[in-house]
């Protein structure tokens, strides 16, 4: 009886999935246990649920819809600085929330560049606060991510198809219909899902740009239950609602996403013969200039603000930077191991387990972990390891979404060959998966490192003065009126996060 040879190791995937489920489930259970039961939900909670869903759905659709022309323009144009643009597009996603908000407001706010421009032209100013502001901010964070997801899709369309299309005389419209749309139909549900899930747990962005309590999200309701009412039962119940949302959204997307895949690619740079006309060039050029302005301008303003104080930052900022680098390294390693193990499962429960990291509010996760650790030892001692673990869990969905399709492709194209050669475990990793998936692995590791570096995570619940991470230090500086130093620390954080991302992403793409 021929047994299917298991690529990496079946138990590694199952164990990882179980661990992820445990890391998410246990804290919620611990909070509920501490409360002595589940609380009830009031009308305000339902309103929060409604707003959370509306803004998340809108943000996901707008982000992905805008990402299509951007990714297409990037896919069919070759120009100087293209690589740099693709790389820089990753930056907003890894910014600490408060820094990103200040950057966005420097462009779109009351005293921002845009309103200054409109005023100079004698036009009425725009008001950023409201649902549209929330969506704008979420698009700022997620458009680059969606673009990268889709660009990878474009790169997965084999060169032969474009040659065939060129031979048949297909124009941009037909290429979209026969080559690009089938790819998009396969990739978009997954991009929509991830962004929807990210926006589900939005809190500070939604509140600040939403302009007030109308923009109350589930996460804020959880916060309120914890801090304002110390109603742990209600907090646990709200966390459960959030979890249910994630799981059902995940199931829907997995169903939609199961579409026939394209054949093998050759890993060559795809040359395009369509869209050579001046009109198309102008269109793509405009799209790219606009998106570059939208994404990079706030970043540039954030960076400029930090330059004067960067060199003279107080020593504990540098110490916190060291701690952040350590946490980022550890959680990247954890995250990549978990993502590979789950990708090798190639079943829906593997995908679902990977999504769980998005399903839980950091506050619930941190408090649950606190409740669990407290009887055994002082939680502060474990602040950094717990932060690394939680950050790995939170980065896992992103890493998995990047790795899983490439893993599936590699196995589809070469899995049987590798099976007949008896390539298993490390040999398969070293000689098949690594060379075939370098690009995806580098991108995923870069994302994980940067996310972990920039995430406030659960550290705030645990830390004592000696064990702060850089994002926490930025908040501490702001809390002490030291906005200039905070800007310098934020720039340092931006440089570190982006440096880690760029290094890993570049390392993966270099020889890919």
């Amino acid at each position: 009886m021929a047994r299917r040879v298991v690529p990496i190791s079946a138990w590694a995937g199952a164990a990882t999935a179980a661990l992820a489920a445990m890391l998410v489930g246990l804290p919620i259970a611990a909070v509920a246990w501490r409360a002595g039961g589940w609380g009830g939900l009031g009308p305000a909670d339902w309103a929060a649920l409604r707003f959370t869903l509306v803004q998340a759905v809108l943000s996901a659709f707008v982000s992905v819809a805008l990402a299509v022309p951007v990714a297409r323009a990037l896919a069919r144009r070759r120009f100087r600085g293209r690589g740099a643009l693709v790389l820089l597009m990753g930056a907003p996603f890894i910014l600490p929330v408060i820094v990103a908000i200040l950057g966005l407001l420097a462009v779109f706010g009351r005293g921002g560049i845009l309103n200054g421009l409109l005023d100079a032209l004698g036009l009425p100013g725009i008001q950023i606060y409201g649902l549209h502001g929330v969506v704008l901010a979420h698009v700022f964070f997620n458009l680059p991510l969606a673009t990268r997801f889709l660009l990878q899709g474009w790169e997965s369309i084999p060169q032969e198809r474009f040659r065939l299309a060129a031979n048949l005389g297909m124009g941009p419209r037909e290429i979209m219909r026969y080559l690009e749309w089938p790819m998009l139909r396969e990739r978009m549900p997954s991009a929509l899902l991830v962004i929807f899930l990210i926006c589900l747990s939005s809190f500070a962005v939604a509140l600040t740009l939403g302009g007030g309590p109308r923009a109350t999200t589930l996460e804020l309701a959880i916060y309120q239950a914890f801090r304002f009412e110390f109603d742990l039962g209600r907090a646990a119940l709200l966390a459960l609602v959030q979890l249910a949302l994630v799981v059902s959204a995940g199931l829907v997307a997995l169903r939609l996403g199961r579409v026939a895949a394209f054949g093998a690619g050759r890993g060559l740079t795809v040359e395009r013969w369509d869209a050579k006309g001046a009109g198309y060039k102008a269109l793509d050029g405009t799209v790219l200039v606009l998106v570059a302005l939208f994404v990079l301008l706030p970043l540039v303003l954030v960076a400029l603000r930090g330059v004067p104080t960067l060199a003279g930052l107080p020593p504990q900022v540098w110490r916190a930077a060291g701690a952040s680098i350590g946490v980022a390294l550890a959680s990247t390693a954890l995250c990549m191991a978990a993502a590979l193990a789950l990708a090798s499962v190639r079943r829906n429960w593997g995908e679902m387990a990977g999504l769980l990291g998005l399903a839980i509010s950091p506050l619930v996760l941190g408090t649950g972990a606190f409740i669990l650790i407290n009887p055994v030892m002082s939680p502060a001692t474990l602040a950094l390891p717990v932060t690394a673990l939680v950050n790995a869990l939170m980065a896992l969905p992103f890493a998995l979404r990047v790795i899983a399709p490439e893993y599936a492709r590699t196995e589809r194209d070469f899995g049987r060959l590798a099976d007949t050669l008896g390539m298993r475990g490390w040999a398969r990793m070293r000689y098949l998966l690594w060379p075939q998936m370098r690009g995806a692995l580098g991108f995923a590791a870069g994302l994980a490192a940067a996310l972990s570096m920039g995430d406030l995570g659960v550290i705030a619940l645990f830390a004592d003065p000696e064990r702060a991470t850089l994002p926490l230090e930025v908040y501490r500086l702001m809390g002490a009126y030291r906005m200039e130093d905070a800007a310098g620390a934020a720039l340092l954080l931006l440089l570190l996060s982006f440096g880690a991302f760029a290094l890993l992403d570049w390392g993966g793409r270099r020889a890919a």
Binding site: R34, A44, I98, I101, L102, L105, G109, R110, G111, Y129, A204, L207, T208, L209, G210, G211, G212, P213, R214, L220, Y223, Q224, F226, R227, F228, F230, Q316, A323, G326, V327, L329, A330, A333, T367, F370, I371, N374, P375, A380, T381, L384, P385, A388, A460, L461, A463, D464, P465, R467, L472, Y475, R476, L477, M478, G479, A480, Y481, R482, M483, A486
Partner: protein
Amino acid sequence: MKNLAFATSVMACAASVAAADKPELVVYTYDSFVSEWGPGPKIEEAFEAQCDCDLKLVGASDGAALLSRVRLEGARSEADVVLGLDTNLTALAKESGLFAAHDVSAEFDLPVDWGDEVFVPYDWGYFAFVHDKGFDAPGSFRELAASDATILIQDPRSSTPGLGLLYWVKAAYGDEAGEVWEGLADNIVTVTKGWSEAYGLFLEGEADMVLSYTTSPAYHLIAEGDSGKAAAAFEEGHYLQVEVAGKLKASDQPELADAFLEFMVTDAFQSVIPTTNWMYPAVTPEGGLPEGFETLVTPSKALLLPEDEAQALRDEALEEWRAALSR
């Protein structure tokens, strides 16, 4: 990571070896208190010079987080003293039954009488709207509501000043609070999660005024040499925030904890407060307030709801706020 964890544990060991022969007093406080530019380092030095002990300050993000943490830890808490709750949290804190009575007595320079048996105040301040000096600030909530001045406030559900503002309006207007909020709704640019976000946005020019403290201009004046900020004096009076500390019943160092609370009202502690925590000291030190504090506005009237009343009004006040701003 391995190295880092190793280094951290070595550091922790080294610290505990050094302190092995001395008793350790653990004080939970909020983050900005323990940071280098906060009062923490100087206070630690001053107290350790006189107690022959090791003072360990542990930070949580803010007062409310602090209380949540102590409640989560319950009797197992390592903390001996909790420093950084305010009068909006003391009722809840007492309800938890975790705190012990104190026997500190001092000549408090508070705008209100202080007779709390459990908590000792260490500093205080007035909530106020801070603006640039050139701005013609309104003189009351009514005037603000009628003007087209823009303000930034914090969410009472996630922020201490936000909750303070909720009580400020409630203390000043009672049953009319909801109506006042409705009037203010169109002045509010946005509501932020915490003080830092709102203050940062204000410095970026997103609004004319930001909810902060009457002492905020002192920071800009003394630390930055910038006299361009001022706090608007409101006719209704200003709501008071009194920050307090208390001893935990489960403390394994009750004498040290008492000594710390005693120390807290002495000059060594109090003289550090104004230019590190940017609040008024609870007991004015011998040398008086630092230069620059005399420029701050002094409210004509101090408002403070008794803690039980504050606790009882909380949900009602929040609902009025939410209803008015959700329109």
